[in-house]
Symmetry: C2
Subunit: 459 residues, 2 copies
Amino acid sequence: MVMKNASSTIKHAIVDFAINIKNIGVADPRRITHSLKVALAITMVSMIYFLQLFYNNMGDAGIWAILTVVLVFEFSVGATLSKSLNRGFATLVAGVLGVAVDSFASIFGSTSRPVILGFFLFLIVALATFTRFVPNIKKRYDYGALIFILTFAMVSVSGYRVDKIIKFAHQRLTTILFAATTCVLISIFVCPVWAGEDLHNLIVNNLEKLASFLEGFGDEYYRISNGNKSCIAAYKSVLNSKGTEESLANFAWWEIGHGRFRFRHPWKKYIEIGVYTRQCASHVEALNGYLKAKDEAPSEFQNIIKEPCIKMSSELGKALNELGLSMKLMIYPSSSTLHIENCKNAVDELKTTLKVTMIAECDILEAIPVIAATSILVEIIKCVEAISEAIKELSKQAHFKNPTDITPDKAEEHNFLNCGSHLKVAGAGEDEESIIVSVLSDDKIPQELDLGKSKREIN
Amino acid sequence: MVMKNASSTIKHAIVDFAINIKNIGVADPRRITHSLKVALAITMVSMIYFLQLFYNNMGDAGIWAILTVVLVFEFSVGATLSKSLNRGFATLVAGVLGVAVDSFASIFGSTSRPVILGFFLFLIVALATFTRFVPNIKKRYDYGALIFILTFAMVSVSGYRVDKIIKFAHQRLTTILFAATTCVLISIFVCPVWAGEDLHNLIVNNLEKLASFLEGFGDEYYRISNGNKSCIAAYKSVLNSKGTEESLANFAWWEIGHGRFRFRHPWKKYIEIGVYTRQCASHVEALNGYLKAKDEAPSEFQNIIKEPCIKMSSELGKALNELGLSMKLMIYPSSSTLHIENCKNAVDELKTTLKVTMIAECDILEAIPVIAATSILVEIIKCVEAISEAIKELSKQAHFKNPTDITPDKAEEHNFLNCGSHLKVAGAGEDEESIIVSVLSDDKIPQELDLGKSKREIN
């Protein structure tokens, strides 16, 4: 009996684990591809050296190639490039400095040589470790500093004579170059994962999440419909996206041009848009508090301001949706200003309504949460305006297409931009620039558009 | 002239860089200590092997010791312990598995051996890389998985015969153990930086920052005093502390008992307190918006609710201050409930005031931002209550002292806890448990108390 229980517990645990693993793969299939890519790179490098071992005695070199692949191969192209370049340059600089220090120490006899070497080693390692705290170095060259310390320590205490060191350093550098190049080539040419594209999609997704909250807020607040709760709660992840955005932008900085992004795409602007988006999300979080608190029927006062209130939140949602869509399609955001204007008109409308309303008619205590929620909506207008300005600047810097520049037939396809329609990804194949997206414009005629991969999940 | 300009520009750049570097050291002197500790560990390990090189030809072993120190030595004890243990165990497991796969492959002839080895290498590396995406493994054993892949690849393609592999694996393991032990010992015994203590101080600091905003808010809002702006803006850093808190909690999990913290201190509870603190900070961010918007004199309506409003915000500040102080001293939070009650009374008072006020007397449009700000204050009460509950649970789990359990003379020293006094660090030496803190109680008699290092900046 006990045995049976124990075995069923173990069985359950194994099944749970397997389901968990499967979900991780399903959530982002690029993880499976990445695992296979790493395995490919390591097997390739290992096998080349394994086979060479029998012909010429390379010995150690193979180990350094494997080490390089394991430490350098990262999820995105940018991260892999960053680590490869850091590793290469740091090894070179540290090697030269190591040889110099070792030659200098050799001038003195064999008794004082260890002392002089030890002194320089201590000094240079302490300085290099300290530079890792300098924010700009930490951001881009942290791995380089680490490898510098490693290589410098190795070279300076290798105990070889200078001529042997140079041969050894040359061999090491060749090995690292070979391994790092393999990693970079595999990461660029086998199902590449671009940090820049991930950053672009993350920002677009965040805008869409806020948009869907705001579009649903009015109806939800007035119990008009039983809104999709999961859609409403999706904004929460926006609040904590700072770290991901910053590291993606750092990696994107290293990436060569790809797809719709050129080398030196203004990634910094994305960080700025991210800051405003999070500010907006933090107001949305406060707004969500009033949604939870409201389980009774709308109060009298609430009904008085119902119309401008619903209009404000839905126009805000539309503006964000347009901004997200214009980024997705890399088109100058033309109609978001219109929605922001509509929103401001709704505020004026609200003010007029309030002026003519005798407040004494209503219970002021009942009105407090409603007034607070409305006031937050007004605050959100400022955030959305800031987002809109930032995206306009980005679209200038990144030379987004102007809707009017698009050829007549394309322009027809794009005209949904002016009617706040919804975008739905129909297929999600692997081939860049070939995903077919059906765009349901307001008159419900499905149209087809070429788009880059855009619905990919962010790791 | 051009030369002169260029040289002065270069001079400026160098001076700026030097000032920058100095500031980084001054901001947290532990960074300088850390750099010296790393240099000490690397120099020690390098010198031991450098000197041994001339007696017995250890050769490569030295390189592995240096590599281990460079990759394993981290800023905090917890991080160093985590990496050392991960590295040790992963090397052991991967070594055994590598030998097993190699022996299996040796059964087949030398023609099929590379194919079988390659197959297993690909399979196991792909699986191990994929496990790095499993959240629980990523959190604690990511470095272990990396080292597993590295060691497994190295052992399986080393091309040695089994008996030689075992000798080689034994030597490698001894070297890693020696280097990792050196790192752990130096990091524990030379000016240790405990991640747990940093986490504790970070949470306390965050509570204090929110407290100082809320204590200052009422006066600032009603232009009673020209409040300290920097004190008011300090809360901003709380919003982005999630990542730091989580990584500190992860490292703290590995740490042995130290100072006032036992092994297996409930660090998870700190994460929970952090979540509520950030929720509170996000409301404070919204509140700050109303502070910026208000540059004119208080409106009529504002003056009507002035008293309960100032009381609410100052009582909230006091409650948070008490909670922070009780965590700092690790004493059960006895009086925070009182302040929260006072706050709720102020809300009732506000409601009474509003009931008797004829709202029609005032301009509703003018009242909107005031009402919104007050409503946010009411929301903050809920957050502070949640923080208070979480800290009470923590104080039970972590066996905080009960104020009444403290010996009479100590109790006298602690009675300031019930009067919302201020704490000021007088000295900040290096020796744990010996910093003298003057506590100015409300009657301004300086008292002395033993406290652990508590004002340390978080990296």
